[in-house]
Each structure stands twice: as C-alpha cells, then as structure tokens.
C-alpha cells in the first residue's frame, strides 16, 4: 500500500521547510523538500556599499550569524587584497569556534535527542533512561545542556560585543582590541563550560582522554571503560543509538563537501582564494565516497530548474544573476515535476554533496592533511565501518566539542596583546570569495564590486546544499536522497523522517506531509 507523508516543519527553531514523502508498504519511495520562504538577502545588497554584507548577512540566521560574518569579511579580504594580522585571524577563529560549540549542546538537547524519547522506541531497554534525560524541557539533561550552550557565546561577546548579530570581523582584521582581562575571562568561561557540561555531563571523562580515541573500536571500548563514561550522556547516546537502530537509516548521497575553516594565524596574512586551502586548520575537500579531491570553489554550480526563480543555465555563483523570483505555490498545489522550492540546488563537480559536521570530520581524517591541520582518523574509520546515517551524522557533530574546546583555549593563549588587530585596507573593485564551516556545514559568500558598490552577491548556505531540490538533471538533493528507503513504523507519527532531516540540522523549521502514493490522499500533517 502506497502512502504520502507531508512533514512541515522539520526543524524546531525558525524558517520554513516542508517535506513531502510518498510511502509504499511503510517505506519512503519518493521525497521532496520545499523551502517555503523567499528570503531575498542577496537582492537587498544590490547596488549597496561593498561592506553591506558585514551588517546584512549575519542576519540571515540567528544561530549562524558569526559564520556569515566570517564569510562576508573573508570575501572582502580577497576582493580588497587586505593584510590580516595574526591576532585578527585568531579572534575570527575564536568567534567561529565559540558559535559552533554553542550550537552543539543546543542542537543535541533542543532539536535532536528529544526524538529518541519518542514512543517508537518504548520497547527498548534503554528507553526509560533516555526519556529521563532527553525528554523535551523535563529531561534531567535538557535544561543543563541548553543552559550550558549559552556559555561559549559569552566568549564571542567579549570580542564581538554580542552574539548573535555582531559585525566585529571586518576586512583587514577585527574591530576589537582586547585587553588582558578579556582574555582571562574568556579562559574562565570556557573552563566553566567544561566543568558545567562538557566533561561532567557529556563525556564523563577528561577532554584529553576523549581525544585519544582513534577508531570505532576505540570508541566502543571507551564507552565500556568505566561507569562514568558508560553513563555519561555521550555513553548513553551511543548505546541507545545502536540499540534503537539509528545507525540503519538516513544514508544519503554518500558524497561529502567541506569548505574548511579556521585560517591559521601565520598562513593567511595575505588572503587569496588560491592560498586558502593550505592555510585552513580544519581542512576543506570533496570526498566522493572513495577518494578525496582538493576543494576548488569554481566546481560549485547552482541549479534553478526546480527553484521559484527565472530559469537560467546552471552557473557558478560569480556568473549567475541575482535571482528573479517567479510565483510560488503552496504545498498542496505544487507540481514537483516543475518548480517547487525557494532553495537553489547547488552541485559540486555535478554531484549533490552533503554538508555538515560529518563532512568536516571526514576531511579531518584525510591522510594528506598538513602538519598544522586537524589530523583525526576516527571518522575515516567510522565511515568505513558504519557508513553515513542518522547516528554517525549526530556523533560527528558532538565529536567536535572537545576538540574545539581545546582549540579555543590554544588560540586565546596565542593572542599577543601588544600587536595589531586591524590594518586599514584600501577599497577597490573586484571579485571576492569567503567561506567557512558554519555549525551545520559549508558556507560561502561570493561578491563582485563594481564602481564601488555591490554588483553581485551570492550566498550558498549549508542548508541550501542539504535541503536543495532536484537539480537540472532530476537528481535529488541530499536530504531528499537520505529520506529514500526510510522505513516508517507509524505513518501517523513518522518520527524517522524528522530524525533524518534533523540529523542534517537544517536551519529551517519543517512540516511533514504524508501522502498515500497511489491515492494521493493525505494521511497526516504535523509540525516536528
């Protein structure tokens, strides 16, 4: 029997993402993602001051504003050929890392883990403990984790003034010139975060012990090493995920894209697009399922055949026009053979590729990584042993917290208070490219400045990469692909669909619409 399922919205925070799935005998046979809101941020900046992106783009997202700022300032650095002092690169990296660490417990407790308390898993032995800890609002870890997530961005505020929506990263450096007391307070806040959540609740061991883990077997051994680790939230999450079968669905396209981030303080003082890959601390790349390819931003093309924009040939962001919207339809009236989303469909070397922490940690496992780059084999091994799925995607996101904690402290200690924080650049026309890894994946901005104003500005967000619709050749986007084949136990409560979508941490609220494939009849509609 064939059924259709509409899920709207999939996320829990903001924006609008609708998912329409068709089911046959309880298995998803077709899936479409619909970004239901026109944003128009690129259009806003047309003809404006070249620095407008520093103010406008952080406001694209209330949780990734610092990441947009990292891109906007970097795009201007390459266009204006600035010089960046080491202190500025450190303070930008600290801003990016604190924002990402903020997102980790917030996403886990507020967005993701509450699904593990769904009645679908009620017959599993670990269910009672999961409900006790991870239930929305009332779980014993829920409030603690969400509260702890506010700490890292206190450090962001020490250097950026506030989080979210600071513009403290500017071409040529940063606005701030911190004093000793800012650095010491930042160390103290991070220490508090470690004591309050990271080691005490999440790991059940020291950051140093956790970072010794090199392989999947190491990780399983770590879980069983002692009661503290076994009963930590991470220990419980791993044991419950395997027991609940969260490692068995949501595979996706099996191709991974990361732009990398954290430009090294001494290796990017003369910012160029060509010099970027080697200056990254968290490496960039494209992994096609078998081998690694060096990242080249010119390989990105955006398709709009299924987007509510006027048709133009697939093009690199520098070469595409600012989008011209066409009339959209609500979900019921949408014809999925035609245009059906406000999101474009970006492709890398012609492939739909998944963006996110899993992509990042796969790049971190690249044996070709340089001495100054993260060299962490764990997720190379996990990908081989377990493949991509809901569990590995979530594990990858959580895996970053201890390492970033360590890096934030390291970068704080490298700031030289007597040295420069900003070198005033000379404004000029030209093209620029800035990129980073937002908490939820690869993010990039492209700018073209002509006659001293913005001629073209293009943003490709990780959510664009992941929730994008079919491309010109009819190939599915990553979330659409990841939903295919998912088994739905209860079509009136398709928690599996939500878990797949949320494992990508798409920054759009999402609604599920379930339909019967043969009759087209709607079975259920609800917000997740």
């Amino acid at each position: 029997m064939v059924k259709e399922l509409n899920i709207s919205p999939v996320g829990r925070v903001e924006g609008d993402l609708d998912v329409k799935v068709y089911m046959e005998n309880g298995v998803v046979t077709r899936a479409h993602t619909q970004a239901a809101m026109f944003r128009g941020f690129e259009k806003i900046m047309e003809g404006k001051d070249p620095q407008s992106g520093l103010i406008v783009t952080p406001r694209i997202c209330g949780i990734c504003g610092g990441s947009h700022l990292y891109c906007a300032s970097s795009a201007l650095d390459t266009a204006w050929k600035t010089t960046l002092p080491p202190n500025a690169l450190l303070l930008r990296a600290i801003g990016q890392a604190t924002e990402t660490v903020q997102s980790i417990p917030r996403w886990f407790y507020a967005i993701f883990a509450t699904d593990m308390a769904n009645k679908k898993f009620a017959n599993k032995p670990l269910y009672a403990e999961v409900v006790k800890r991870f239930s929305a609002y009332v779980g014993t870890s829920f409030q603690k984790g969400v509260t702890a997530s506010g700490r890292p961005v206190e450090v962001y505020a020490l250097f950026g003034g506030q989080w979210p929506h600071s513009s403290y990263m500017v071409p040529g450096g940063v606005m701030c010139a911190p004093t000793l007391k800012d650095i010491t307070r930042a160390h103290a806040i991070m220490n508090f975060f470690r004591n309050e959540w990271l080691e005490s609740i999440w790991l059940g061991c020291s950051v140093e012990r956790y970072l010794q883990i090199q392989t999947w077997d190491d990780l399983l051994a770590w879980v069983e090493e002692n009661e503290s680790q076994r009963n930590s939230d991470l220990g419980l999450f791993i044991r419950a995920s395997l027991e609940f079968g969260m490692d068995t669905f949501g595979q996706g396209v099996g191709k991974f894209l990361a732009y990398g981030t954290y430009l090294h303080k001494d290796l990017y003082n003369k910012p160029t697009i060509e010099g970027r890959n080697k200056a990254l601390i968290s490496s960039s790349g494209f992994f096609d399922g078998e081998k690694y390819h060096e990242f080249d931003h010119l390989q990105i093309m955006e398709h709009v055949k299924h987007t509510w924009f006027e048709d133009v040939p697939a093009a690199h962001p520098w070469n595409e026009p600012l989008p011209t919207p066409v009339p959209s339809q609500n979900l019921e009236q949408t014809n999925f053979d035609g245009k059906y989303s406000w999101s474009k469909a970006p492709r890398y070397m012609g492939h739909a590729a998944e963006a996110g922490p899993l992509s990042r940690v796969i790049m971190n496992a690249n044996p070709a990584n340089l001495e100054h780059q993260f060299r962490d084999p764990l997720f190379g091994d996990i990908l081989k042993q377990k493949g991509p799925n809901v569990f590995t995607r979530a594990l990858a996101r959580m895996h970053e917290a201890p390492r970033l904690y360590e890096m934030i402290n390291k970068w704080l200690s490298e700031i030289r208070l007597d040295d420069e924080f900003y070198i005033k650049p000379k404004e000029q026309d030209g093209k620029g490219f800035g990129a980073t890894e937002a908490a939820r994946g690869a993010l990039a901005h492209w700018i073209e400045i002509e006659n001293g104003v913005i001629k073209n500005y293009q943003v490709v967000a990780p959510t664009t990469l992941n929730v994008g619709p079919n491309d010109d050749e009819g190939k599915s986007g990553p979330i659409e692909a990841a939903l295919m084949g998912t088994e739905i136990e209860d079509p009136h409560d398709p928690v599996e669909v939500g878990m797949v979508a949320r494992s990508f941490d798409s920054c759009l609220v999402c609604t599920v619409h379930a339909h019967d494939e043969k009759t087209g009849k709607k079975i259920t509609e609800f917000k997740l």
Binding site: M45, K48, D49, P50, Q51, S52, L54, I55, V56, R59, G62, A88, G150, V153, E154, Y156, A157, L158, F159, G160, G161, Q162, W163, P164, H165, S166, S167, Y168, V170, G172, G173, V174, M175, C176, A177, P178, T179, L180, R185, L417, D418, E420, F421, Y422, I423, K424, G452, V453
Partner: protein, 172 residues
C-alpha cells in the same frame, strides 16, 4: 500594543516585559511614540558606554585601537539610538560599543540607516568632510558643531601643553 525593537531584540527586553505583565505591573509599562517600553528605550546606547569619556573629550576611536569614541569616524549611532545595551549588556558580558563596534542603531526606525548607500557602512557620513550629518540626540546641528569644535580645539591645546589623555598608551 508594545513594540520590542532590535535586530535582534535583547532577550531581557522581551522576557522582562512579560514578567512585568505577569506580576501585575502592566500599568508601569510606559510606552514611547513607537510603542517601545520606556524602561528600556528612554536612555541611549551611549549611556554606560565605556568610551563615553572619549566622546566628551572628542578623542577619535578606530578599529583595532583601545580607547576613543567611534562616533566621529566609524559611524557609531550610540548617541542617537534609544536602547539599554550598555546598561544590561549582552550575553551577560559586553556590548558592541565596549568592543569597538559602532552601534548600528537597530532599535530605531530606518535601520539599516542611510539605506546602506556607498560610504555609509562603518563610516561617519559628513558635510564638507568634517561635520557629522547625524548629531547626538538632543542637540541642534549648529549647537553641536560649536560645542564639539570647542572641545576638539581645547583637546589639541591640552595635548600640546602636556595633559596626557591617552588612557591606553601604557596599558593593555
């Protein structure tokens, strides 16, 4: 109707008004012409700014430099933006102007100001290259130019006669 402005609004602005309502204090929530609660939007961002002394003494601030006021060169709107950012702080720690970040005026109508035209972002828009187009609230333009001109001249004189006002020269 109560309007809570800001991009973003400070969480306290939202929650404390809700607390006021839930504790029976709606009568104390006074609102201004834009329906903003006066308790948060009567004073200016400049109130509590750690660079307020530099504003009074007309000492310029710049990116990457300790001390100095951001109003003169990099477009800070702290003196004409109603908000309590420097009194209640953000993320319990700081505020834009405390870290050398010009106030963008996001609680006032017209944000982003000057419609982001060329030369308006992180630059003070001026007449004749030295007279700020927007002057601090509560001043006539002419009155402000005269007072500021006097302060600026006095500052130069005092510097020449050796009154050291560079607070951060020997500190970090």
């Amino acid at each position: 109707m109560i309007n809570i402005p800001g991009c973003p609004a400070h969480p306290d602005w939202v929650t404390q008004i809700l607390v006021a309502i839930s504790t029976g204090r709606i009568g104390d929530v006074l609102i201004d012409d834009y329906h903003r609660p006066k308790t948060f939007f009567t004073e200016f961002v400049q109130t509590g700014c750690t660079n307020a002394v530099s504003f009074a003494q007309k000492i310029d601030g710049h990116f990457g430099k300790r001390g100095g006021c951001l109003f003169y060169e990099v477009g800070c709107r702290g003196p004409m933006t109603h908000a309590s950012c420097n009194r209640i702080l953000w993320n319990r720690q700081s505020s834009k102007t405390r870290v050398n970040h010009p106030c963008l005026g996001c609680t006032e109508p017209g944000f982003p100001h000057h419609d982001l035209v060329k030369g308006s972002v992180f630059k003070t828009m001026k007449y004749l290259g030295f007279l700020p187009r927007d002057v601090p609230a509560g001043n006539s333009k002419l009155g402000y130019y005269l007072r500021a001109g006097f302060e600026k001249t006095m500052g130069k004189v005092e510097k020449i006669v050796g009154v050291n006002r560079e607070l951060y020269k020997h500190s970090k």
